[in-house]
Amino acid sequence: MSIQLNNIKFSYPNASHKSVLNIEQWSVNDGDKLFIYGSSGCGKSTLLNIISGILCPSAGSISVLGEPLDKMSSSQRDHFRANNIGYVFQQFNLISYLNAKENIALASYFSKRNKTESLDNKITTSLEKLGINEDDWSRPVSNLSIGQQQRIAIARAFINSPKLLIADEPTSSLDEPSRDKFLSLLTTLCDVNRTTLLFVSHDTRLMHHFDSAQNFTDFNNKKFKD
């Protein structure tokens, strides 16, 4: 089981009466490529932040890749995230004042995984695979196109060979041809690395790229049971 949630409840501390998440039972299998859809503002991103260990649930238990996140300290969760989880956002995936190679190296720096291969080699091969021109490797990423930035974000997300990849609306700022190219790259890489993929979007047209699809509101019942 890649992700397992039991009786998860969450509300933000500054609005504790307003429930954001209330999930009784929910799980994702290893190696699944799961598509979750739902309108914006329904709590999808909050769920992703809980799965990645940035936020802690108000109640309930969560285990990711067999590790009980709710029992970890915040620094343990930071290490766990750096080592095991890759992340791709809609935008602001990269630090604008670093170049492509530095952005990827930074992600590797926070992970304490054994680095068998030389990091520089690993970065250059993955950039080549993702079709980024060598000229663009050392330019500040703010000078690159959105499409290029998203592909570098994929390289960044995969640098530590994560077991779980979380993608939060990563295609929303792409046009259709780049969107399809992006999605096939992403799914291929997940297959090759045997990475579980959690893909969140409001755009149901993307559904056919994935093994299964779920409506977020089907498993999130916002009303607390009193």
């Binding site: 933000y12 932040n49 915040s74 620094s75 995230r81 750096a82 992340y87 602001f92 930074l106 992970s111």
Partner: protein, 414 residues
């Protein structure tokens, strides 16, 4: 990687960071400069006279007497009679007495009339006697001994002739150019007002003030007249007398004796006491200056805090991203602190380098105008303490933006 990230992030915000560094450098420059000059001035003041137990002048204030007799600043209110000098020098407790006369100048530098004993008894710093770099003390009426800076600045050598001007200032209307003096000695540098002084005999000073044409003519014909043969040139009065006593124990009694002298109203001061009085009168000014320099530092640090704080707002995405790839909230906090300390470090370097340059350039100007020796060597215990304290305050100033970043990292609500 941590340091590299901080540097790249600062470079990315060059514009506002350079302005912040400029502000902080200037305020550090002021603070370190004020501190350095304070210490140097104090040291220079304290070392300007030594080995002199009492300075005696006509009835005046003690600081005034000190200022004109030692620092050649201001003008004497009253002279003391030659007879009083004679009487004082014959007192049992007096080991030596050296008369000094001021009033003339040469190209803006003060001329001091004195006796040859001055070179033997007057000390500076920690009882260091005056040394001759070249030549010797004056022996003839028209001999002159130069302070180190005068020889340097005006390019005089042994054997050159110099004419004195009446009064003080570069543009004196009356020059004593019919009776020139010959340079016989140049003193080694002392870092005290002695370096800015020309020394002649009292008789020489008396001679140039003679107005009777016949007497002038006679003097002109005897430029090698030695002091011992010029008793008729004895002055009527002198500006002050420096006195060394046989026993230091006698100094207070002797001071009281002089201050209550029945024959002439006199003032005797202990140079050390008068120096510290002078320093005390300046301490209000001194403390105000120091307070201002601290306020300038504080305002620049608030500026730093504001710059960093507003940058956090623009960097929320960056902070969220750092968190996602595994940076802890503490890491984000430390990153902001490190950036602040980098700004501080660069500012300290700029301030120290520019202060060193400015001090070495202005050293001579300060010495000439104020008779204070300022070393351009700025590393002292006090300046290092100030710099360490400054870094501490930078850390504190960066706490508020760093905590804002920490909180943003902790509850990244997307």
């Amino acid at each position: 990687m941590f340091i590299q990230l901080a540097i790249k992030s600062l470079l990315n915000r060059k514009g506002s960071i350079i302005l912040t560094i400029a502000t902080i450098s200037i305020s550090l420059f002021v603070m370190l400069g004020v501190d350095h000059i304070r210490h140097q001035a104090k040291e220079s003041f304290a070392s300007s006279v030594s080995g002199v137990d009492l300075i005696v002048g006509g009835r005046t204030g003690s600081i005034n007497l000190l200022l004109y007799s030692v620092f050649r600043i201001g003008t004497p209110t009253d002279n003391l009679g030659w007879q009083s000098y004679k009487r004082l020098s014959k007192e049992r407790s007096v080991r030596w007495a050296v008369p000094i006369s001021l009033g003339d100048s040469h190209k803006g530098y003060r001329v001091l009339g004195t006796s040859p004993g001055y070179f033997k008894f007057f000390n500076f710093a920690n009882n260091q006697p005056l040394h001759f770099k070249q030549g010797k003390a004056f022996e003839a009426v028209f001999d002159i001994v130069l302070g180190a800076n005068i020889a340097d600045r005006l390019g005089y050598n042994i054997g050159d002739t110099i004419t004195l001007s009446h009064g003080i200032g570069n543009t004196s209307f009356r020059n004593h150019d019919n009776l020139p003096f010959k340079v016989v000695g140049i003193l080694r540098a002392t870092g005290t007002p002695v370096d800015q002084t020309l020394h002649v005999s009292l008789q020489g000073l008396e001679a140039v003030h003679i107005t009777k044409p016949l007497a002038v003519k006679r003097l002109k014909e005897a430029p090698e007249l030695i002091l011992a043969k010029a008793t008729y040139l004895e002055p009527k009065s002198v500006t002050a007398v420096m006195i060394g006593l046989k026993s230091k124990m006698a100094v207070f009694n002797f001071q009281r004796q002089i201050n209550t002298d029945k024959q002439e109203p006199l003032t005797a001061i202990l140079p050390g006491v008068a120096l510290s009085q002078l320093w005390q009168t300046m301490s209000v000014f001194d403390n105000t200056l120091r307070l201002i320099s601290y306020l300038v530092i504080i305002s620049s640090l608030i500026g730093l805090s504001a710059t960093l704080l507003s940058s956090i707002k623009e960097r929320l995405n960056e902070i969220r991203l750092l968190r996602i790839i595994g940076a802890s909230s503490v890491y984000v906090f430390s990153l902001i602190e490190l950036e602040a300390l980098f700004i501080a470090l660069i500012s300290v370097i700029i301030a120290l380098v520019s202060l060193s340059i400015v001090l070495s350039v202005s050293q001579e100007i300060i010495l000439n105008n104020y008779g204070v020796m300022i070393e351009p060597q700025i590393f002292s215990k006090s300046s290092i303490e100030l710099i360490i304290g400054f870094f501490l305050f930078v850390f504190i100033a960066a706490v508020s933006p760093a905590i804002t970043a920490y909180n943003a990292a902790k509850n990244s609500q997307t």
